[in-house]
């Protein structure tokens, strides 16, 4: 909870100065995933992040979707597949899937 508190304080400060940002949170996982439910990532307008939802191509997908959310201002629930078919090329096979809730936090 301390991490969430810290992240939200940062988000609040950024939003106050007019920045747009979004938060991605893992809400459900099935099988093996590098991070579990509750793991979070804050993504800022410039693409920089705070926190992680597991790295690898899973996180890359989340990052792209989050940049879209920053643009659109609309929250979304993203399904991320980390099973073999998807991850083979990059070599990080986790074997699981996860649902990530992405919501805009600033710029409103």
């Amino acid at each position: 909870m301390a991490v969430l508190g810290y992240m939200l304080r940062e988000a609040r400060a950024r939003a106050k100065s007019g920045e747009r940002l979004a938060m991605a949170t893992i809400v459900q996982t099935r099988g093996s995933t590098p991070r579990k439910v509750g793991a979070r990532m804050l993504v800022f307008e410039d693409g920089l992040c705070m926190g992680t939802v597991g790295g690898g191509c899973g996180e890359s997908d989340v990052l792209h979707a989050t940049m879209d959310v920053i643009e659109s201002g609309k929250p979304m629930l993203l399904h991320v597949d980390l099973t073999a078919d998807e991850a083979e090329e990059s070599g990080d096979v986790c074997g699981g899937v996860m649902d990530v809730f992405i919501e805009p936090l600033g710029g409103r």
């Binding site: 301390a2 304080r9 439910v37 919501e103 936090l105």
Partner: protein, 270 residues
Amino acid sequence: MSEPGVDWLSEAVARVVEGRELADLATVVAAPSVGLVKVGARLLIRADGSTTGGLGNPQLDMAVAADGARALQERKSQVVSCSVTGTPEPDGGVHVFHEVLEPQPQLLIVGAGHIAVPLARFAKMLGFEVVVVDDRDKYASVERFPDADRVIAADFGETLLDFPMTRATYLVIIKRAHTYDEESLRLTLHRPSAYIGMIGSRRRVQTVLRTLAAEGYPEERLRAVRAPIGLDIGSDTPEEIALAIIAEVVAARRGGTGRPLSSQIRPISV
């Protein structure tokens, strides 16, 4: 209230963190595109049942608050699906993510001797709030415990009497003096805590526990005291003892058995 902004969320979480209480943050992560219930709407459900925020429909709020109470009891974050009025419906249009917010664990170290120093450092690394108590100024000093959140040089009894123990408090009694250990337990056994551990030889520990049992302390609570404190890792040095203690504390926090992972898988014949 729907779509509360980052200000509301930040405030709500900050208050929960200060209160050191378990709470459930319920967020609508999927909802029908038409209707009063919006994606991103939130309801904060506290351990005492009170709530702040709202999901756009009072019936839904009630159902989600009940789901939240259940999530808190199980201490398990989960997604629950229901209809817009809160009736249970696995394929219902509304999906709510219940996130159990755990308070920051607090390590209360009674006795600032050799073991306390590495113990405080380990605990800090592991995300604990660290409080150290000793009645000797030389031992309970900020110089020896630069990372501790609070260093209290004061009488043990008086300090423990006033100390706000919660269900997130992990109490470690490493004073190494028979009478203080007994007194420390007397003052804390009936208070909320996540863990109580006491250093000492098996014989001394037995003596203290028997004395307290004779005084009428409930056996159940006495049996829950981890004494001798720590996991068996063959510790020899103060650092190793501190490691054994913090490992036991983390195991208590995370529900681990403390046994080697390798002993828990069925062996493959080689």
